[in-house]
């Protein structure tokens, strides 16, 4: 088990009902962690439509996790 910090934005923040949580997980990577969170909280976006950021920068899927990592799941962007 490792401890990770997850931040949520936009649709994911609303569906999760919070902006940030710290949790223990056995997921080896961010893709597996998202699958866990999606099932637990009914998140609608499939992982294929997200990008991951770990510790402040983009990380290609599956985005391996270490203890104490900060993870952001990035919904499809819509700036401009």
């Amino acid at each position: 088990m490792k401890t990770v910090h997850v931040h949520y934005f936009a649709l994911l923040r609303e569906q999760r009902g919070l902006s940030q949580e710290t949790l223990a997980t056995s997921a080896p990577d961010a893709a597996a962690l998202y699958a866990e969170l999606r099932a637990r909280h009914g998140l609608t976006l499939p992982v294929e439509r997200l990008r991951a950021a770990i510790n402040g920068d983009f990380a290609p899927w599956p985005a391996p996790l270490k203890d104490n990592d900060e993870i952001v799941f990035i919904p499809p962007v819509a700036g401009g």
Binding site: A10, L11, R13, L45, R49, G56, V77, G79, G80
Partner: protein
Amino acid sequence: MSFHLSTQPLDPVALKASLADAHAGACVTFEGWVRDHNEGRPVQSLDYEAYAPLAEKEGARIVAETLARFPVTRVVCVHRTGALRIGDLAVWIGVASAHRAAAFDACRTLIDEIKARVPVWKKEHYADGTTEWINCATRGDHAGP
């Protein structure tokens, strides 16, 4: 030579003044305005939310790539966050260059890349009281379940 987020209204006069340069003969600006409709639905207001540290980092990379690719003298990009109303300025991009082709090409590349890559999200509020996070619909979408 910058990309920034702003929680406050943008000031295009001050932003454009920051591009002034006696070597520049052309200045192209792009402004994104909050418009009153999107895909046929009447829009009343919208919220922009950003993952700020990564948005500024990715925005700075886009600016650096643009400077490497086009012969321009100055580039400034600012993106609003927070609650905006119809007619408000959501994004301002300005490019100065000796010749106009580079300014047009760089300005267009900047807004295209910013829209594609920078982690900023837009929630539209419609006249009928509903809302939507743009690009986040999961029905009628080939990538959906």
